[in-house]
């Protein structure tokens, strides 16, 4: 699975959880917090991504990730690891 595909999964989940982002373009350098996600929304996006990518890891591992690019890189390593 490519990083672009993973980015599409993550942004898809983000838009499902925050429908107001539907017509907003999302840049990989942005953080979920920048895009208006609260801590519960952010956890839900990561958990839904885990489910859809069929990977599991403790949420603490993504706690320090700063932006979507970092999350995609992390998920990419998990999916292909």
């Amino acid at each position: 699975m490519t990083k672009s595909e993973i980015f599409a999964v993550v942004t898809g989940n983000l838009r499902e959880i925050l429908p107001e982002l539907e017509s907003v373009s999302i840049d990989p350098q942005q953080s979920m917090r920048d895009l208006g996600a609260n801590s519960v929304d952010r956890a839900d996006v990561v958990l839904q991504s885990m489910e859809r990518l069929n990977v599991t890891f403790p949420l603490i591992e993504v706690a320090k990730i700063e932006n979507l690019q970092g999350l995609v890189d992390f998920l990419h390593a998990k999916v292909n690891g």
Partner: protein
């Protein structure tokens, strides 16, 4: 002197109508919301027609920032929270329009405990094979107090807020507590919401196994299944619904020239020293008398009773005896009907739904029919017939009784007296 308590807003969402206008029209028609289906595991029930929160909020023409806040807090929330949000917003805007400046000092009471086992059941089914990815938001939503949080955030309420339980008497328990909030000056405005009870097939089966739930004999004629006070009744029929009342001190309502829908003149609750499901004539009569005493009214003043009347075998029988005890021979001249015959039993929300039904009949000057009441269990009671008639309700009793010996009654009046 304790404050007189007015009702200045009302919102309803039930199987027979969304919004108070539609609900009032459905009451007047004697509409039936009870249908049969096995697809959702509910069997014979008063189902809420599916709705989309965004579309429904758009139909309500809410002003910003109320609309934006409601969408943000409610769009991913479970059914019961969404229902409460809709009824609370309807009631609030009826009382105050889009103005939420008075909300900071208001209180919120959500009637019902353990309101959504159906939601938990569905989440368990969905994540049974992968508990690890259960949404973090489930930790917020499975709590009944999420309802308090959502309404507080959307309306900007910063006074007291809590849930209160009383099984099927929760709604009246909520009104009682809201009445005390205003009467004793804790708040000038209190939002009381009866939460939609979201049951799973597990709870329904348990109710069936206790003998309380009906719907078996009338599975092929669901509109016949709920028949309060009828000899052929079989048990209560589950109904999905929510309602909200805005209680406000009469002085505050008067000062801002608000439209008053009626008054909560008194309310009371008492126990039976019994943890089981069986009702008690003595306890029910005592709750009605205590509520009338609080209202400063004699039974003679009451010309309408919205009965608890679930269509259960023991419950309806006991309530008739309690009504006979409170009203004596005059019970034949008190108009009595059962809103559950139309909506099914809205459980935690029932007391608020039925207070709303009482106020709507009071304002519309009518008495809604008793659906399916063809062979009354008692001839001496003033039961409404199978068709609607005119009635000028001056003072009403609205009863709710719950498992665990919980008895409640609320007195609603057309005029507010001198207080």
């Amino acid at each position: 002197m304790p404050a007189a308590v007015a009702v200045t807003g009302l919102g309803v969402l039930t199987s027979i109508g969304r919004g108070s206008e539609a609900f009032a029209a459905a009451l007047r028609r004697g509409a039936c919301g009870i249908t049969a289906s096995n697809a959702d595991g509910l069997g014979v029930a008063g189902r809420l027609p599916p709705f989309d929160l965004g579309t429904t909020l758009a139909d309500m023409r809410l002003p910003e920032p109320l609309l934006g806040r409601a969408l943000k807090a409610g769009r991913r929330a479970p059914l019961s929270q969404q229902a409460s949000l809709l009824t609370a917003l309807e009631a609030w805007t009826q009382a105050f329009g889009g103005n939420t400046t008075g909300a900071a000092a208001a209180s919120i009471i959500v009637a019902g405990n353990n309101v959504a086992p159906g939601y938990s059941y569905r989440m368990r089914e969905k994540y049974a094979d992968n508990f690890g990815v259960v949404p973090a938001s489930y930790a917020l939503h499975f709590l009944d107090t999420d309802q308090v949080g959502i309404l507080s955030e959307v309306l900007g309420i910063r006074g007291e807020g809590f849930t209160i339980g009383g099984a099927s008497a929760s709604g009246n328990m909520g009104i009682l507590q809201a009445w005390r909030q205003i009467r004793y000056g804790i708040a000038d405005v209190c939002v009381v919401v009866g939460a939609l009870t979201d049951l799973s097939p597990l709870e329904l089966q348990a109710f069936r196994n206790t003998g309380a739930l009906g719907g078996t004999r009338y599975a092929a004629q669901p509109e016949e299944a709920c028949r309060p006070f009828d000899r052929d009744r079989e048990g209560f029929i589950y109904g999905q619904g929510s309602a909200c009342l805005i209680l406000e001190s009469a002085a505050s309502a008067r000062a801002r020239g608000a439209r008053v829908l009626g008054y909560v003149a008194g309310a009371a609750t008492c126990l039976d020293a019994n943890r089981l499901s069986n009702p008690s004539v003595e306890g029910e009569a005592r709750a009605m008398r205590l509520a009338l005493e609080q209202a400063g009214l004699l039974p003679d003043a009451v010309n309408y009773v919205n009965a608890h009347a679930t269509s259960s075998l023991a419950g309806d029988e006991v309530e008739v005896k309690a009504l006979q005890e409170v009203f004596g021979p005059r019970v034949s001249r008190v108009a009595i009907n059962a809103t559950k015959g139309l909506t099914g039993h809205c459980l935690h929300a029932a007391g608020v739904v039925e207070a709303a039904a009482t106020l709507l009949q009071m304002n519309g000057r009518f008495l809604h029919p008793n659906r399916n009441l063809r062979k009354p269990i008692e001839q001496t009671c003033g039961f409404a017939g199978e068709s609607t008639r005119d009635l000028d309700i001056q003072a009403a009793l609205s009863n709710s009784f719950g498992f665990g010996g919980i008895n409640t009654a609320v007195v609603l009046t057309k005029s507010g007296g001198s207080m």
